[in-house]
């Protein structure tokens, strides 16, 4: 149901109903958005969802030092 998207388990999942990325209309900022977004709107909760995915996989201090 619209407005009830809670989880963002993978980067492909939308953070909320403002995410317009789809197969038919792909978002040109998809990659940056997943790393430091959202870009099309401002929402701390949506930012947090992306950071949660990043933090989950950040297994070592050197993980981002590439």
């Amino acid at each position: 149901m619209k407005g009830e998207i809670k989880l963002m388990e993978r980067f492909i999942d939308p953070c909320c109903d403002k995410c317009v990325n789809s197969k038919i209309k792909p978002c040109e900022n998809f990659v940056e958005c997943r790393l430091s977004g959202p870009i099309c709107h401002e929402n701390k909760e949506c930012t947090g969802k992306r950071q949660a995915i990043i933090e989950k996989y950040n297994h070592s201090p050197g993980f981002f030092q590439h």
């Binding site: 492909i12 209309k25 792909p26 998809f30 989950k56 070592s60």
Partner: protein, 611 residues
């Protein structure tokens, strides 16, 4: 969030050593201690140190356990994850000092490396596109979609990247040629037909970081104006094929592959073609023909370049796995960043499968220009068992053998070629004093004879003639003039073969004659194998004064060739002896009564002179 993340290497090598059993056992133990939600297990691609597999690293503290088994899991979980005590017996031990090393970054094997191509191998879960994206994945693609094709090509040209499949042709120039040719259809092909014995660099990249190859293919497609690619990969690499297909499906699901990628209007499709494992299909024209569904054989000269008329006669850009894998980083970080690594003429890094007589073997990546000796003695940890270094064979069966005097050589495409060897796809086999160089040349030539497509006479018959001469020499039937004949045949094959396989096939023979001619002469003139390898030129004998009659050799001789009473010196019946060397290996060091003899020593023994 997790307290610990455990990375288990799940490259083909570690899986064959039991990595998946380790994972299964670890899961059970974590559940037993109710830690399943606090500890995340990551199955990564190849970590490189295959000899010590399965590799098991605990993060965030980076505790490097190696050679772990499923049976070790109860102790590891109980002692380390529950109580916090490091399990010393599973840590890496320095081969010289014997000291334990906890962090993988402090292990010399890793410390000297510079990982660009392998930067994600052993770091991320290759089956998880999100982890690749977090490590800047697909950022290079995004950037390239906003660039003019010429701008992309200039970046690659200015980076100085040369093809990492072995030939070292400037990648940017190849891309420029493909870009300039006008055609309604162009293809990009990834050459993953890795066929050198002992080489597994391409396989490891595909298994450990498949998205980097896909991203490289797409950037190449954008640069030359292509919308379709093929990855030609050996069917003998099932794990690489599976992970590649999974990566393609994920990228398609994410809209990073397919139609209108990132709303740019750029479309790109990647196909996977599994090859049947013929070595010759690594040659560009044979590879293209094989993709078309025909028997893979090189096209005879004169022929157009693949960039002009390749797959289905369309312009085709062919790059190796490693070359494509490093492209996204070059686009992301810029040409100057890449050009700042390596030497003046060879930029970036080289990936080698370091094997043979070294203390540490596996997959390594080093900056171009590193000294050959540094790779062998520092990264490889030197020669085991106190033996002497003899030679290093680089470039696979088309490469050559370099002696100790070349250890100061700065490794890159050009210096190796000048020294009589080649970079090739990256095989590096270290040989010690117990290796017969004639036998080594014979081994590699036998491979190329088997793999010759048979299309041209010099390669089909010439290499066979060379092999027969080498067989004669190793069997004690060498004749005066054989070395000169080998040199002449080798030159003719190089001059007249139609493809790179034939033109490079004599290399192992020519380079060993160049640097180890005395060994050839010893086999031919003195009927001696100085390394004590060639069976027809050696015998095993028991020193009557040293033998105490312990009976180990007699009891274990599979041919029943050893006789002797208890506590009395034993003797070997030369008629029955098969020269398996079991007696030689089993005789206790404190006696060393079993001797291996060659040449004059055999003659002396026959005359009753003993040893």
């Amino acid at each position: 969030m997790y307290d610990k993340q455990i990375l288990i290497c799940a490259g083909t090598g570690c899986i064959s050593s039991g990595a998946l059993d380790v994972k299964g056992s670890l899961e059970k133990e974590l559940e037993k201690h109710n830690l399943q939600d606090k500890v995340r297990i990551i199955l990564s691609g190849c970590h490189g140190f295959c000899e010590k597999g399965p590799i098991f690293i605990v993060y965030p503290e980076d505790i490097f356990y190696c050679g772990v088994t499923a049976e070790d899991m109860p102790e590891l979980v109980e002692e380390y994850l529950v109580k916090g005590n490091i399990v010393d017996r599973l840590l890496y031990k320095d081969p010289i000092t014997g000291e334990s090393v906890t962090s993988h970054e402090n292990i010399p094997f890793y410390r000297q490396q510079k990982r660009l191509v392998l930067r994600n191998c052993g770091v991320i879960d290759p089956e998880n596109i999100d982890e690749y994206i977090i490590r800047d994945g697909y950022s290079g693609l995004k950037k390239s979609l906003q660039m003019d094709p010429k701008e992309i090509i200039d970046t690659v040209k200015n980076s100085g990247l040369r093809g990492l499949g072995g030939a070292g042709f400037p990648t940017g120039r190849k891309w420029e040629t493909a870009y300039k040719i006008e055609s309604d259809k162009k293809y990009v092909v990834c050459n993953a037909d890795e066929g050198d014995p002992g080489a597994f660099m391409d396989r490891s990249v595909l298994e450990g970081d498949p998205h980097s190859v896909l991203e490289g293919l797409m950037i190449a497609g954008k640069a030359i104006g292509s919308d379709e690619a093929y990855v030609y990969v050996r069917a003998e690499y099932p794990l690489a094929v599976r992970r590649l297909r999974k990566a393609i499906a994920q990228a398609e699901e994410y809209g990073l592959l397919g139609e209108n990628i990132l709303n740019s209007g750029f479309n790109f499709k990647v196909n996977v073609k599994e090859g049947a494992g013929a070595f010759v299909c690594g040659e560009s024209t044979a590879l293209v023909i094989s993709i078309e569904g025909k028997r893979g054989m090189p096209k005879p000269l004169p022929r157009p370049r693949t960039t002009e008329a390749g797959l289905w006669d369309k312009p085709t850009l062919l790059n190796n796995v490693k070359t494509l894998s490093v492209i996204p980083q070059i686009i992301n970080n810029g040409a100057d960043w890449f050009a700042g690594i390596g030497t003046e003429k060879c930029k970036g890094t080289a990936v080698f499968a370091l094997t043979g007589k070294t203390n540490c073997s596996g997959l390594i990546e080093v900056p171009m220009g590193i000294k050959l000796g540094k790779i062998i003695h520092e990264i490889g940890g030197g020669i085991p068992g106190g033996k002497k270094f003899k030679a290093v064979q680089t470039g696979g069966p088309s490469g050559g053998c370099l002696p100790e005097s070349k250890l100061d050589l700065a490794v890159d495409f050009d210096t190796l070629l000048q020294a009589g060897s080649m970079m090739g796809s990256g095989g590096m086999v270290v040989l010690d004093e117990t290796t017969c160089m004639v036998d080594v040349a014979r081994y590699f030539l036998n491979f190329t004879v088997e793999e010759s497509c048979g299309q041209c006479t010099p390669c089909r018959s010439g290499t066979l003639q060379m092999l027969e001469i080498l067989n004669d020499i190793c069997e004690g039937n060498g004749r005066e003039g054989d070395v000169e004949l080998l040199l002449e045949l080798g030159k003719s094959i190089i001059d007249s073969s139609i493809c790179g396989l034939g033109k490079s096939a004599p290399n192992p023979v020519l380079s060993t004659i160049d640097y180890f001619r005395d060994e050839y002469e010893a086999h031919i003139k003195d009927k001696t194998c100085p390394a004590l390898v060639c069976k027809n030129l050696i015998i095993y004998d028991i020193d009557q004064e040293a033998c105490t009659g312990c009976g180990r050799c007699r009891k274990n001789c599979p041919a029943g060739a050893i006789a002797g009473d208890k506590k009395e010196p034993h003797v070997i019946d030369q008629e029955k002896c098969t020269k398996c060397a079991i007696c030689y290996d089993l005789c206790p060091d404190r006696f060393s009564a079993v001797k291996c003899l060659t040449g004059e020593k055999i003659t002396a023994m026959a005359k009753g002179g003993g040893n």
